[in-house]
Every structure is written in structure tokens, then in C-alpha cells.
Symmetry: C2
Subunit: 414 residues, 2 copies
């Protein structure tokens, strides 16, 4: 019955045609796109073209001939369209962690005298670690205060250099209110640094409109650019044209120089977002990002969000029908608007249940302490995926199949 | 006649069979492997496998199933074999610039109290820029002194925190004496940081034996791993087991944590070289590095160096035969032992000559102020390449063909 309903929903899904753009194994229901998105055919073709033709045949000339040299900027602008950033404020390079380091240092420089970063206790660890690293490096010129999500806004004061938040919590899927956070921060003279790891490609983001100062994000989750694909960094125009421009961030690399090919011994930062480029970018992986963005070309982020919310609604109703919500309560917000594109459920045996699901072709993931996490990627997940996955989950839970020894041993999975 | 001699040399070349491992366009003589190495068939196949099968079919499970999670370490150890580093001291990740930032900060931490980096005026710019960036960030806790190459050793004093050198000069190909530099540095209590961009894969490097403290290098030149492929960083065992271990470098990223998947809010650095890992590495590009190293598996760096020196010797003798050495004098050291695997020649119209060469299928490059630069990659360059390239160079120079307007306009090429 759920399957019938699912098929009806799929038939009237305006994004249904998008699934054909992706390479999804026949026997897999993939609900882990919030960890690693699936490959599109466009990415596969582009990577082959970049290796065989661009690098293999045109070799060094490709830096100009195939636009490699501008790729961080051109790809950055394409990402910008999905996160509400006008051109010239986003660059695609390095990892989220490295990009976060750049903006943390930029914020401290702008906020001369203020040393405090405020963040949430349950922010994604690398965000907290990078601040701890800056603290280690700069001593009393940097400090980190972490608070519970509910206490965040009240903790932003005149002492705060910047608030550092991930819009969507990686464990619970809770979505923080960026408008309120930004209003409070700016009211107190603090800057706002946002990690969009679980937002970009999953829901509308309006950086310019919100007046966010800096943002970072990755491309290998909802943007489907491949394992460890280069990340992005957003810097609001006001900072790119400020007195700090040219040395806004301290990783002075040769490709961030105003004239990289003059090979001058003295660093002079490029104008605009290019100063945030450091070393030579990994072109094969960066080209994959470019191709992955093709799937977003003719669809609005609003339509993607709409389907994401409906997929999750349907998931919850299916779990309710199977009586699963009392066995493994939902730890994600029940109200869709304050939730990202994932649902997490608590169960003492969440790890083993996750492994049993994977063994049955439903890919989800486990997050400490005891959460079973499902990500919903509207470009390729279907309502039928949902109905079938919940049916398998139900079978595993009620049969106790997850108690099999094979599902107990832990191995690292990102 | 030169061609005949070249064919004889190729026939007795013990590395001759290696060329077949690479994809080289028929109509191209490629002498720019010191900027971007050519693609091997193994890399092409590996990249296709990583996209189509590993990512495309096995998706998130590939982090364990295909060893993605350990790739920075396993690839690092393979690079270690080529640069004289015992296992556990090299990791493949990020760019040279980022890796340099890590070791600069590590050096300052170890050398508490000393603030001075000594380098050469003509070091590759990004190396100088990164120090200038650290200076910007740390203020009077960091300073940079640059001197002429000939004055380097005398400039290392008890004030010096570390000497930062590129073994082979990117413009002239001059190879510095790492043994002497290291002896002087250690005598003065200074550390040694070496950039191996133009050494790794081109000649034997013996980091452990020399007692070098830190090294960085790239994989897209003589290691043929593709445009912007991830770089590497070497940290001597003594520092990895020192009191600083666990927080030797300040870019505290989640994959450098002792337990990345515990998602603890507090950073505790991994033991050993893994602490130098930061964010999620670009797996497609990193896999290309792994595959590119296959070409080095059954050949010694001594044999590669031997052929490199012979190729350059033959090049110089061909240029001499054509009377070119007076028209465009060689600015590289004439003695092979103090030269890397490149030859540079000065000419007022070096840029235009370079363009004219490229138009005739000979790929070289130009470096400011007026150098025409040829790189020699012993795994795929032949003596016939040399004879033919010099003949074309001679024709261009004597005919004045390079004066054609088409060859004058400048565009960026790395």
C-alpha cells in the first residue's frame, strides 16, 4: 500500500526526470547522499575528458585552452548561484577545514581587539578543531566558547569576534535560524561564519540577503562532486573591497597573488575572492565539481527543498505505519522548516541496524552516540526508495536480524 | 647525424621500455614535464575505475572497501621510497603551499624563541609568500631573510629558526647542496625545510640520511600525477615522536584527529604523520597519484638520474653543433651534479621562441625574465626527442620565424 502511494507521488514529482542523470546501482537504495553524493553521468564523462583529452593530449596548454586556470572562480560562481551569492564572492578550492582557517584568520584581522569565537558544542568537530588550532597558533589572540544550540544567540556579545555555526547539525539535522543569529551578531558587532556542508544543494541559502560575512561548504554531499572534492569559501563583497583586501587571509599562495606569473618575490594579494586561492588546485577533482553542478542548472533550490520536505514527511508516515517511531524515536526536529534534509533516529543498536540495512541494499549511516541517519537527496531519491527502505528497516527491527554478530563490529565510515 | 646518434642512444637506453607506459601525443615532443608531467595509462585506468566502480557502484563503502581512508598514508609511503624516507614520515595531501604552512608553524613551535626563516631570493615565490603570510599572522614571532644562493650557508646563524630552500631552482635548474646546508643549519641549531618540487621523481633524494627536518613536494611534475594533484609533506621521525607530536602543526582538521569517527568536540592529534592530514582529501586526484607511482616501481632513482644527465649532455652537444649556445647562453650550471633535470637558456626573445617551438610541436616553457626552459623526464623522453627538438629550435632561431606577431602575445601558463 505504501508502495502504491509512493509510485503515485513519484509520478507527479516535477523532479522525477533528474534521477536519470545519475549512476545509481540497481540493487541499492541510497540514503547517504548527505555523506557522499552519487555520481552523475556528466561527472563521469567530464573526468574521462579531462584525463584523456585535456591532460593526455593538450597537456600544459590546457591551463589556458581548457580554462583550468580560472576553474576555481568559474566553479565558485556556479556554486554561488545555489547559495544566494552574487558573482565574485565564492571560490572553489582546498577543503572546508582549510577554508575555515582562512576565514577565521580574516575575521580576527577585521575584528582587531576581539578574540572570541562563539560556536555550538555539537558543531561538526572539524569546525571546532580549526578554531582550537588557531588558538594554539595565536595564543591569547584567539579563544573558543561553545554553548548549547539553544543558548547560542544569547551568548553572542560585544566580546565576540565571530559566531561560527553549521546551519544544519550533522547529527540531528536541526537547522539553525541564520537570520536571527546574524541579526544578533551584527547588533553586537560580531561577524558571522557559516558552514554550509549540509545546506548547499539541499535547500535555498541566501547569503547575500542575510548579510552573512563568511561561509564555507563542501561539494561532495548534496552537490555530488565526488569523494573529497574541493570545497568552497564565500566572502561578502564588503570584505573583499575593504582595507584588508589583498591580505584578508594569511595563506599567501602563489595563485592568490595579483600576478602569479610575474614570479615576484613579494606577495601582493589578488583583488577580490582570488586572494583566497593558495596553491595549484586539483584539476581533475575540480572539473568533477563543475560537471556535478550541471544537474542543478534548470531547477530551483525551492523545488529541491519542497521535495526534500515531502520525502521526509512520507518517510515519517511510513515509519509511523510500521510502528517504528516508538521503537526508535526521531531525534530530528519534527517541524520541517527547522530541519535540514536528513532524519535521525535513536536506538541502542543503531550501529548494528545500520549495518544490517546496508547488507540489504539500503545505505544509511550511523552517528555517535546512537543515531541512525538517513539523508534525502531530492535530485535522485524517490518516494519508492522511501517506502522500500522503511519496509526493510521494519523487517530488520522486528525480526531482530540486526543482532547477527556480523553487524556488530565497527569500522570507520565517513 | 644527430638523429642517428640519438637512435643509437635510445637503443641502448635501459629505461627505453618505460615510454610505452605513457600517453604522449604522436606529434608532440614534450619537454615540459617539470611543469606538468604526462599521463600514464595506469593513471587513466585508475581514474576511470575510481569514478565508475569505486564511487559509482560502491559509493560510501569505498572509504573502507577500497582503502580511501588510508590513501594519504599509503601513497605517502610510496612517495617516501623515492625520496629516501622510511615509512610513516610522508603523507600525501593538500598543496605544497598548505603543507609548507604546516611545517613553517611546526618549525616555529619547535624553535621557541627563534623567529627567523632564511631563504633564497630566487626561491619559488609561493615558498616566500607562505612565510610572508605567517609573518602577517604572527607579527614579530616570524621574520623572513632572503639572500643570494651563494650567501645562503653563511647566512644561517644562531638566530635562525629554519632555513627554507628549494633543492633545484625553478628558473636556472641549479641544485643546492643539501648536505652542506643541513650541516651548517644543524650546527647553528636551525632546522631545515626543503621544497622538492623539482627533485622528487627526477633524482635520488635522501631525506633520512641527510637528517632533513621537514620537506614538501608536488606530484604533478616528475611524478606525473596530473594537474594540481595533491602534494606531500615529510616530517622526520624525531619530530613525530617529540613532545610536540599530536599538535605539531596547527591546522587541526578532523582527519588529523586521533579518532576522527568519535566526533569528539576536543582536538587530540593523531600520532605520527597523520596529524598532518586536515580535511577530507580529493580521492580521485589522490588515486591518480597512487597510480602514477606505478611507473617508478621497478626502477632506481639512480638510473633515472643517470639518464637525465645523459639527455642534458646530449642536448648541450646538439645545441653546440648548431652553434646555438652563443646565441642563447645556458644559464643552468654546466656541471651536471649541481643541476636538476632541466636546462634554461637566456634570450631576449625567449618568450616568442618558446611559442614558436610550441607551434612546431616542441613543448617547452618560458620563465621570467628571459629564460627558455626545457625539462627532461627520463621515464618518457628519448634521445630522439632531443635531436629533433634542437633541430627545430635551430630552424626557428636562424630563420627568425619566432618574430612572427602570433608568437609575441603573452598568456599565463604554469
Amino acid at each position: 500500500m505504501a508502495l502504491e502511494k509512493a509510485r503515485g507521488l513519484d509520478q507527479s514529482d516535477p523532479l522525477a526526470a533528474k534521477r536519470a542523470l545519475f549512476s545509481i546501482p540497481h540493487d541499492t537504495i541510497y540514503l547517504d547522499g548527505n555523506s557522499l553524493g552519487v555520481m552523475s553521468h556528466a561527472v563521469n564523462e567530464r573526468v574521462a575528458d579531462v584525463t584523456r583529452r585535456q591532460w593526455g593530449k593538450d597537456l600544459i596548454t590546457s591551463w589556458n585552452k581548457h580554462g583550468w586556470i580560472d576553474l576555481p572562480i568559474t566553479v565558485g560562481d556556479r556554486i554561488g548561484k545555489l547559495i544566494g551569492a552574487a558573482p565574485g564572492q565564492v571560490i572553489c578550492c582546498d577543503s572546508i577545514s582549510i577554508n575555515l582557517f582562512k576565514v577565521l584568520c580574516a575575521a580576527l584581522q577585521i575584528q582587531s581587539g576581539r578574540t572570541q569565537f562563539v560556536s555550538t558544542e555539537d558543531n561538526f568537530p572539524t569546525d571546532l578543531y580549526m578554531i582550537q588550532g588557531v588558538e594554539r597558533l595565536l595564543g591569547d589572540r584567539c579563544s573558543l566558547t561553545t554553548v548549547a544550540e539553544d543558548d547560542l544567540i544569547a551568548s553572542i556579545t560585544e566580546e565576540t569576534a565571530a559566531v561560527v555555526v553549521t546551519e544544519v547539525n550533522f547529527r540531528t539535522g536541526r537547522r539553525l535560524d541564520l537570520a536571527k543569529i546574524t541579526a544578533q551578531a551584527h547588533d553586537k558587532g560580531a561577524l558571522v561564519i557559516v558552514d554550509l556542508a549540509h545546506s548547499a544543494g539541499a535547500m535555498p541559502v541566501t547569503l547575500d540577503a542575510l548579510g552573512i560575512d563568511f561561509a564555507v561548504g563542501c561539494t561532495y554531499k548534496y552537490l555530488n562532486a565526488g569523494p573529497g572534492a574541493p570545497a568552497f569559501v564565500y566572502v561578502a563583497k564588503k570584505w573583499l573591497s575593504s582595507d584588508f583586501a589583498g591580505a584578508l587571509q594569511p595563506l599567501f599562495g602563489w595563485l592568490g597573488h595579483a600576478e602569479p606569473f610575474a614570479f615576484s618575490p613579494q606577495y601582493t594579494g589578488a583583488s577580490g575572492i582570488r586572494q583566497f586561492l593558495v596553491g595549484t588546485p586539483p584539476i581533475i577533482s575540480l572539473s568533477a565539481v563543475d560537471a556535478a553542478l550541471d544537474a542543478f542548472e534548470d531547477v530551483s533550490m525551492e523545488a529541491i527543498r519542497e521535495k526534500s520536505l515531502q520525502l521526509m514527511e512520507f518517510w515519517l508516515s511510513c515509519m509511523g505505519d510500521h510502528g517504528l517511531l516508538t521503537i526508535m524515536p526521531c531525534v530530528s526536529p519534527t517541524e520541517g522548516t527547522i530541519r535540514g534534509s536528513q532524519l535521525s533516529f535513536a536506538h541502542d543498536d543503531a550501529y548494528a541496524i545500520c549495518q544490517a540495512l546496508i547488507a540489504r541494499g539500503v545505505v544509511a549511516d550511523f552517528r555517535a552516540p546512537n543515531y541512525l541517519r538517513f539523508g534525502f537527496a531530492p535530485l535522485y531519491n524517490t518516494y519508492e526508495d522511501v517506502a522500500r527502505a522503511v519496509a526493510r528497516l521494519s523487517e530488520i527491527v522486528y525480526s531482530g536480524a540486526y543482532q547477527d554478530k556480523a553487524f556488530q563490529s565497527r569500522a570507520a565510515v565517513t
